[in-house]
């Protein structure tokens, strides 16, 4: 999880409805969305990732649909079995059915992803909007503060912080991840706002005497959201990877919680003898992360009129 590169991805959405009135603007936005949807439906990456995500989300919300076994029903006498017709993914060290464990692992991982991404999105929208719109010293203060947190590698910050929290659940892990990961998206939002704020219709709105809040809400926010929304989806994937990494390193979720990261962590000593213990949770983490990132990219491309040409 090296730092995902926001600058490279930044392609501010220019708007179709530049000097149009409010009514026209609505239709222009609607057609932009319809356009986006049309191009998404044709994008195979979008279809694949959306399908994977639907399955993963169903797994997270209704794991009972996928398995009738209890993930905590473990019998030492059947431990460390390799995959078979009875136990599709084999059994783990404690003799739990590994398929059931992996299915039940989806919930915690995806929950952390969603909570963190939502939290970071809220912070980024507020800070990015304020910094990008007001500029000058407000921007300077927020940007420098962002730089400072950005300079601390988030895996490191989270490691240090989580290490001193004795009991760590989804809430704690999510909180800490939010604290250390918000700068990337905030920078993206700020850049997006700056390019939206420098457009002529904003100048025009300002000349007509519109208030700050109105301009931000009506003109800037809708036009700067595109890349940020796409990135927020990508970000869910990044965070699911980060949670698994932290838990694997021993500072994330703790037993008796069930999570892919914990399964990876438990499996590490058996890398050579029982690789299936590693392969299955790894496969699920990878698929989920892949699906979120690909979906986010597809959405961002679809919302960005300029990227379509390529």
């Amino acid at each position: 999880m090296s730092n995902p590169n926001p600058e490279a991805r930044t392609t501010p959405v220019s708007t179709a409805a530049t000097e149009a009135g409010e009514g026209q603007k609505k239709t222009a936005e609607a057609s932009l969305l319809a356009d986006a949807w049309r191009s998404l439906r044709k994008n195979p990456w979008f279809i694949i990732s959306a399908a994977i995500l639907l399955v993963m989300l169903a797994m997270a919300i209704f794991p009972q649909l996928f398995t009738s076994e209890d993930p905590r029903a473990c019998f030492l006498e059947r431990n460390r079995q390799t995959p078979s017709a009875e136990h599709w993914f084999g059994t783990d060290i404690q003799g739990c059915d590994y398929y059931t464990r992996v299915i039940y692992g989806a919930r915690n991982s995806i929950a952390v992803g969603f909570i963190v991404s939502l939290g970071v999105l809220v912070i980024s929208l507020i800070l990015g909007l304020v910094a990008g719109y007001f500029g000058k010293w407000v921007d300077a203060v927020i940007s420098r503060f962002t730089d400072m947190v950005f300079a601390v590698p988030y895996i490191l910050g989270a490691l240090v912080f989580l290490n001193v929290i004795p009991t760590r659940g989804v809430r704690e892990v999510a909180m800490v991840l939010i604290i250390f990961t918000w700068p990337t998206m905030t920078r993206l939002m700020r850049g997006s706002v700056i390019s939206a704020a420098s457009t002529e219709y904003v100048t025009a709105a300002r000349a007509l005497g519109a208030g700050h809040v109105t301009i931000m809400r009506r003109h800037i926010l809708p036009n700067s959201l595109g890349p940020v929304i796409g990135y927020a989806t990508v970000f869910i994937g990044i965070i699911i990877g980060a949670e698994a990494t932290l838990t694997y390193l021993g500072v994330g979720l703790q037993l008796p919680a069930i999570s892919w990261g914990l399964q990876l962590s438990d499996a590490k000593p058996y890398l050579t003898s029982f690789p299936h213990l590693l392969v299955f949770p790894l496969l699920f983490v990878s698929l989920t992360v892949f699906a979120f990132m690909t979906l986010g990219d597809a959405v961002r491309d679809a919302l960005d009129p300029k990227s379509k040409k390529k």
């Binding site: 730092n3 947190v149 990877g241 990494t245 390193l249 500072v251 690909t294």
Partner: protein, 308 residues
């Protein structure tokens, strides 16, 4: 230019101070007895405890403690000592080469593979090679780093047995798998970034001019297209080198490489606060300085950028 550098350096002072302060606070200002935190679960005599209190100026107010520490770092390269009395600088000196080697090998890998892939994509745009590279870079960018690490360990380490999967006893060869792991995400990003830039550049007016000058296609791409398209790529590679130190924590843990990242991880679990603070402070300084250098590099590569 000089004025710009000075101004950027001045701006960086608060960034460095506060970033390191955040880390310092995390380690030393947590509720409870910091000495207990320092010692972890190990028993400690009162004499040692008193000595440590003195050494870390723990009887001073928090900010004074911090400033005394950071003053020591910048004036005397004094990163404190471990609980056992070993200078943290000593540990850093011992471990730094491993991490630097890892980061440099990874940077070389991502630069070479990413750039070649990006060029191939542009030359064979919308053909099979382009599609193949695009699909693989999507995978590379989207797979979590631990997944890639384990995958490489399983396939190339265990099944094929080509590379060692842990430690660094076999010299440079043992750095290959970890470096590929650390480089994978960025290789994908570089390939995609360069493809986008180069495709744009190849459609630009100045490349049309270069063709009209009667240059060979290789020269048109190499001298005129790439020269422009590489600007964001080079800055990305630079900026990525800065964030690699953070990524090294995970990779070094997976592959048991005795570098700074693995040391930080171990010290965090072992609650050796001084080591953590020392190494992290160093990493933050690296990060900030590399980013400044990247900014300046950008100006060298693109003559249109003016520093004021």
């Amino acid at each position: 230019m000089t004025r710009y550098i000075i101004r950027r350096l001045l701006q960086f002072i608060p960034v460095i101070l506060i970033s390191t302060l955040i880390v310092y606070a995390l380690v030393f200002a947590i509720p409870g007895d910091p000495i207990r935190a320092l010692a972890g679960d190990r028993p400690m005599s009162d004499a040692v405890r008193e000595q440590l209190r003195q050494q870390y100026n723990l009887d001073d107010p928090f900010f004074i403690q911090y400033f005394k520490y950071i003053w020591g770092v910048f004036t005397a390269a004094d990163f404190g000592t471990t609980f056992q009395g070993r200078p943290v600088l000593d540990i850093i000196q011992q471990r730094l080469p491993v991490t630097v080697t890892l980061a440099l090998v990874a940077t070389a890998i991502q630069a070479v593979f990413g750039v070649i892939a990006g060029i191939l994509c542009t030359i064979y745009k919308d053909r099979f090679i382009d599609r193949l590279v695009q699909v693989s870079t999507v995978m590379m960018v989207a797979l979590p780093i631990i997944a890639i690490g384990f995958l490489l360990q399983l396939v190339f380490g265990l099944n094929l047995g080509w590379f060692p999967i842990a430690g660094n006893r076999e010299g440079l060869v043992s750095y290959l798998l970890p470096a590929f792991t650390l480089a994978s995400v960025s290789t994908g990003i570089i390939a995609r970034l360069l493809r986008g830039e180069l495709v744009d550049a190849m459609q630009s007016d100045y490349v049309r001019t270069a063709t009209a000058k009667g240059l060979k296609r290789t020269r048109v791409i190499g001298r005129h297209g790439l020269r422009n398209a590489m600007i964001p790529v080079v800055t990305f590679i630079g900026a990525d080198l800065a964030s690699m130190l953070g990524g090294s924590i995970v990779v070094e843990s997976i592959f048991n490489l005795p570098g700074l990242g693995e040391q930080v991880y171990r010290s965090i679990s072992g609650q050796e606060g001084t080591v953590v603070v020392g190494i992290v402070t160093l990493m933050v300084i690296f990060f900030v300085v590399i980013n400044l250098l990247v900014d300046l590099l950008y100006g060298l590569l693109d003559p249109r950028i003016r520093y004021e």
